[in-house]
């Protein structure tokens, strides 16, 4: 099952912030199945898209070594529906990070209009919890990042290209 809820990274600064775009298209079944006659992207999938952008932001801080999961969704406000044909701009900002988890502030805009605000918390699964080993098969996350043009825009805090980490 495809589970890509952001189309492209447009900005990424390690340890700071990341942005991406999501085009809402009618060829996704979920768009017209969610609310018949009102083709919209389900709000939960906007959260998922923000979590994918923000999750990579958190993941990269630790060189993609941690087992990062979205653990909690805090305050969320939806200001407007995301309709078929809309392009959403996702912005995520790393708010807190520790060796146990991280929090990210995520927003979605349609044009200049603020569409969603959210607070996301990520946790790091300890070794042996639920499953052993990494959460991705080797190469899968790298393929996803390439599809989303992550490496085209991702830079370190001092402006150098983010490397392709050996463990990806």
């Amino acid at each position: 099952m495809r589970w890509f809820w952001v189309d492209r990274f447009t900005e990424f600064v390690s340890g700071s912030h990341a942005s991406g775009i999501k085009n809402v298209a009618l060829d996704e079944e979920v768009i017209d199945n969610y609310c018949l006659g009102f083709p919209m992207l389900p709000p939960t999938l906007i959260i998922e898209g923000l979590a994918q952008v923000g999750g990579v932001l958190v993941h990269e801080v630790f060189g993609f070594q941690k087992r990062v999961v979205l653990a909690k969704v805090g305050k969320v406000r939806y200001h407007a529906p995301a309709m078929a044909g809309d392009q959403l701009i996702y912005h995520t900002k790393l708010e807190n990070v520790s060796d146990r988890g991280a929090t990210v502030i995520g927003t979605s805009h349609c044009g200049d209009v603020l569409q969603t605000e959210s607070e996301l918390m990520f946790a790091f699964m300890e070794d042996g919890y639920l499953v052993d080993g990494p959460l991705f098969n080797r190469g899968d996350l790298l393929a996803m990042l390439r599809l989303m043009q992550f490496f085209n825009v991702a830079v370190t805090a001092d402006g150098h290209p983010v490397p392709i980490y050996d463990n990806l």
Partner: protein, 156 residues
């Protein structure tokens, strides 16, 4: 330097504002009520409870329904609200509770209690000490304990 708006200029020249800023520079202390208000706000946000539920006597797990993942959220919110760092072991003495030197048959020994009191001087351990089963430790902390912990950090 940005030009200061006239209404801001008027505000900062008012005596009560000057006394407030002077007080902060002199002491930087927070009152118990200020600490409680911020802790309560963090808990309301993190746990989705009402103000009147997050009383000083309420236990985080039993009364407010906090789950393990919520503690990470609470820690982040407290760190931000009070501009402090909260090391994992200060609120979660797992290393003591899993150490066979301090726990026997699921019960914290007297040495273990002494260690807990040293680690968590801000917590009221009296009730736990009556029957110090490790399995009950998770439901020990109250909102008041959390306030005392923060107080120990911000008003050392």
């Amino acid at each position: 330097m940005y030009p200061r708006c006239s209404h801001v200029q008027r505000l900062v020249e008012r005596p009560e504002f000057l006394s407030l800023t002077n007080m902060q520079e002199d002491t930087m202390t927070l009152s118990q009520d200020e600490i409680f208000a911020k802790v309560q706000e963090a808990l309301v946000d993190a746990l989705g409870v009402d103000d009147d539920e997050a009383t000083r006597d309420a236990t985080l797990v039993g009364d407010l329904g906090a789950e393990s993942i919520d503690f990470l959220d609470i820690v982040f919110k407290l760190e931000k609200a009070f501009d402090i760092q909260i090391p994992r072991e200060e609120l979660s003495p797992e290393d003591i509770l899993t150490n066979s030197q301090y726990v026997q048959d699921g019960v914290v020994t007297s040495d273990g209690m002494a260690e807990l009191k040293t680690r968590m001087p801000w917590a009221d351990l009296a009730k736990f000490e009556e029957n110090p089963r490790v399995q009950d430790f998770g439901n020990l902390l109250t909102v008041g304990d959390l306030c005392s912990y923060v107080d120990s950090k911000v008003n050392p």
